[in-house]
Point group: C2
């Protein structure tokens, strides 16, 4: 886990960005606003940069700082821990994204009997052979980081004799307020952090009349 003083400095930078509604903040602003000695801030920034949690850019008078995706993930980890200890983990997380076409291998994976049996047993439905790829909207991305800190329903990996299949993390979900399905992650790793795949007992593109670029909104239920 992150060193305590680095966590607080990271949190302060993130707070300043929210208050300013900006993507980056000048070091001099941080020094003034949080009353941190310049040397302390410089030392912390150096360590945070080494860990890949912030990025800095030199400007004419000093430098500006931004929090990286990895930095926000560190904050989300602590957040999830606090939610656990305060027993306030949300019952549901609302997400939105845009549908896009994958390479079609979703159906290959979903149809594997080794997965299918577990989907039925652990999710309570027999999934339509195919996944709906959703690119999550920018403003919901931090919720995805947080979601991934919550315990998931784990579909165990297996081998079918020819090759091995990795484990899959699922969260139950309600799609467009009407279809019960699940969000799965880590089926294939070539998508970025901003992509979630959705499965359901029905063909979602047909049932929800979705084409590429259409918006889909859904609610994810973290496991307790």
């Amino acid at each position: 886990m992150l060193k305590p003083y680095l966590f607080f400095t990271l949190l302060k930078i993130a707070e300043a960005l929210i208050d300013l509604n900006k993507q980056e903040v000048s070091a001099s602003f941080l020094i003034k606003k949080f009353n941190i000695p310049q040397q302390t801030l410089s030392r912390h920034l150096k360590e945070l940069k080494k860990l890949g949690l912030v990025e800095t850019v030199k400007i004419s008078k000093g430098e500006t700082v931004k929090v990286t995706v990895k930095g926000y993930k560190e904050l989300a980890l602590i957040q999830a821990l606090l939610e656990k200890t305060l027993k306030v983990q949300p019952n549901e997380i609302k997400l939105e994204g845009k549908v896009f076409s994958g390479l079609g291998e979703g159906s290959y994976y979903i149809s594997q009997p080794g997965y299918k049996k577990q989907f039925i047993e652990k999710l309570g439905f027999n999934p339509y052979p195919g996944t709906l790829n959703v690119k999550i909207e920018e403003c919901y991305l931090r919720r995805v980081s947080l979601l991934k800190c919550y315990p998931s329903i784990v579909i165990e990996g297996f081998s079918n004799g020819k090759r091995s299949f990795g484990s899959v993390n699922c969260y139950k979900a309600l799609l467009e307020d009407k279809i019960e399905g699940a969000v799965i992650s880590a089926l294939r790793s070539h998508y970025g952090e901003d992509v979630l795949e959705i499965i359901a007992p029905v063909n979602l593109r047909e049932t929800l009349k979705l084409k590429d670029g259409d918006k889909i909104s859904f609610i994810v239920f973290p496991t307790r």
Copy 2:
């Protein structure tokens, strides 16, 4: 704000309590589980005790530690800050409690024109002259601490020439899934942290057929 290392020790203690599902944990367990040197833990516990964030009890072999209400409030403060920076502040917080009778001064306060005008303007309804006192269930108490960290709708204090009235913090609420009202706090300070007062455009005891000891569940909407 709490010193960074104390925050992390406090968080670890709270985490251990959740994992063990207990009210207190032995210092020796913390030392083993979190791999903290005994001296470090002793020093941190001493500081945390001084701040009233934990309590310790001597036992035959060492001591046990519990987190105080004040300790959980400190954690809730950081939690709220993280929610803000991660933009994941919940849209709604579900609470439950039991109705009890107060001394009847609620109606006196609510009827003050200085308050009433602002209730109508800021909450959008003319409140029934009276408050419903609700003692929040134990398991929801930490959500109340967290709720109080979110920005509220502030009803300003005023003077009516004879005496002065303090400011009141409100959050909009939906009562029993059907009546729009508001949760107010700090109207009078003689109730404990576990009591919230609810106002609505109607007489809640009559409309929801509530008597002392009855359960009421409601959703509170934090301000953004």
